[in-house]
Symmetry: C2
Subunit: 339 residues, 2 copies
């Protein structure tokens, strides 16, 4: 099991990335890591060289580089070399905390799509606030695409159902379509057509429309949407949560001694709240629909989250979820060829 | 100044509605209220009959009625009669806390659209968490339409700019386009085309793309989006805020004596937080683009919020914002006719 790591991506690279790899290595002894980037910078954080290979390169993609151009011109960037290793069979998965757009482009143009998947989608497991501590739902497309067709949403439902089943061990994942109402007749042209396709698909367990306000109550195990809406929903959730925490803080600061003492006494509760909100413990975002796992974490993540994401990639590789998807879509394409 | 009130719409009708009217009447003595609904039920909450006229009807639209059918079949429903009064010039505005879809249908089919406005949009003033207490932004379309064209977004920008200027007294309202990134090149086909139209429009102050995560930081005074995305954003904000408050509550309940005492000491801060979140103090949602103000509040609102919304309608009528819009679009249509 070989993971190609872009050691230079993210705000705290290479330190956070390499320290995260070191953490992951302790638990997961069957992974060989290829670290792409500045050898000297990387080496100072390598505390144990077992299963570590450093592939030196001076080039890297910046967070503000124009994605497609960066991938095409910076042939020796750490991210590009990592993707190239997967393409050529020298590695099984790519990990990066770098420029999201560039990673999408590297995934599409270098790693390549699964046959029949037109538009890979970005998927992450979001937390659910009720129920089990590890409850969550797989949300796809978080924003890899600005425009999607109904067929793409069907493909997302199949992809994410495979993920929920194999990686999250949910026997029959409930698939919901994000819509502007729960009734069957609701929706835009896109969601109405997607509803029809999802209803007709036998390989998934479609439960109908779900609304954004109910996502965190665990209404579904998989939620599909187009990338524009997915992006808007994620950013709304993020903006609301941050604004509320800020508001609570400033309201406490303005509240005099009593409020401050109260806040101190509530510290554990507030910390617990913050942990629950931190969805990096579920791992990173998968660019799903490619021939190999291509996984991204936030640019600002620390070693812990990097290690979590590597565990996630480990599960994806050991369950061969992508291989199963390739086989599934191959069979689909053969059966449609012979029709 | 005459407001046609659907006294039977909403969860606590007619009590909350009539009590709200009584509250509003104390401050706004120049409004004549027409209360449509069950006379006997209404009358028990009328504490002062000045400027009050009750128009009895037995029929009303239920919250789960199919909107268009309800409007067409229930000719004597309180909401339908209120809209009819505006159409026939007997009243200047409609207020309802009833079935949103039915009110949209009543607005479209009975009150009628302003010339050149293809798809009226639902608009509300959302709170901003930084800056002045009454800071906010006008968000349109919150979900009156499931599919919008770029031209509709341009019309929303003009409508909401008129509103921000006349009703909220902002000299040069900054108009933002909700998009999946702030860069000019970002977006779906819809938002890219809308961006071009908004940039070319001289009557508004377009400041470019804004992202959902920054809405509550006051990035713009007016934010335009299609109704599908607007609906998803609003429901995400609502869901996140409710889930967070629940989470905080249960985390306090689980935290033992210390946490509970802390929460008690923080009570004022938490209450302040809740007030800030309560955007009904800004008034209701306006179905904007019609020949008269048609305004909706939440079905669950109490007398205070009803009274706030009536103040909002009062400002809309006294500034004649809708009349100004009619004139503006008339001029546009004349100038395009003569081209």
């Amino acid at each position: 099991m070989k993971i190609a790591v872009d050691a230079m991506g993210g705000d705290y690279a290479p330190q956070a990335i390499v320290e995260g790899v070191m953490l992951a290595k302790k638990k997961l002894t069957d992974i060989e890591f290829q670290l792409y980037g500045d050898e000297q910078a990387i080496r100072q954080y390598v505390t144990d060289e077992t299963n570590i290979q450093i592939i030196h390169t001076d080039e890297k993609i910046a967070s503000d580089d124009e994605p497609v151009r960066a991938i095409r011109r910076k042939k020796n960037a750490s991210m590009v070399l990592a993707a190239q290793a997967v393409k050529e069979g020298r590695a099984d998965a790519v990990f990066s905390a770098g420029n999201t757009g560039a990673l999408l482009a590297a995934g599409l143009f270098i790693v390549g799509r699964i046959k029949q998947i037109e538009r890979p989608g970005l998927m992450t497991t979001m937390p659910v606030f009720t129920g089990e501590a590890d409850a969550g739902f797989d949300f796809i497309d978080m924003g890899a695409n600005a425009d999607n067709k109904p067929e793409h949403l069907l493909q997302y439902a199949i992809l994410a159902s495979f993920y929920a089943k194999n990686v999250r061990h949910i026997d029959t994942p409930r698939v919901g379509l994000l819509n502007n109402g729960t009734e069957e007749t609701k929706g835009s042209e896109l969601t109405k057509n997607a509803f029809a396709l999802l209803s007709a698909e036998k390989s998934i367990h479609f439960i109908g429309n779900v609304e954004a306000r109910d996502l965190f109550q665990g209404v579904a195990d998989v939620v599909v949407t187009d990338g524009f809406t997915g992006n808007a929903v994620l950013k709304s959730v993020e903006g609301t949560a941050l604004s509320l925490m800020d508001l609570l803080k400033s309201s406490i600061m303005d509240s005099g001694m009593k409020g401050k003492v109260g806040a101190l006494m509530l510290k554990d509760s507030l910390k617990q709240l913050k942990n629950k909100l931190d969805y990096s413990s579920h791992g990173g975002a998968v660019l799903f629909g490619l021939k190999a796992p291509v996984v991204k974490t936030h640019g600002s993540t620390g070693p812990e989250a990097v290690s979590h994401t590597i565990s996630q990639i480990h599960t994806m590789l050991s369950t061969d979820v992508v291989g199963k998807l390739v086989t599934y879509f191959d069979a689909q394409s053969t059966s449609s060829d012979t029709k």
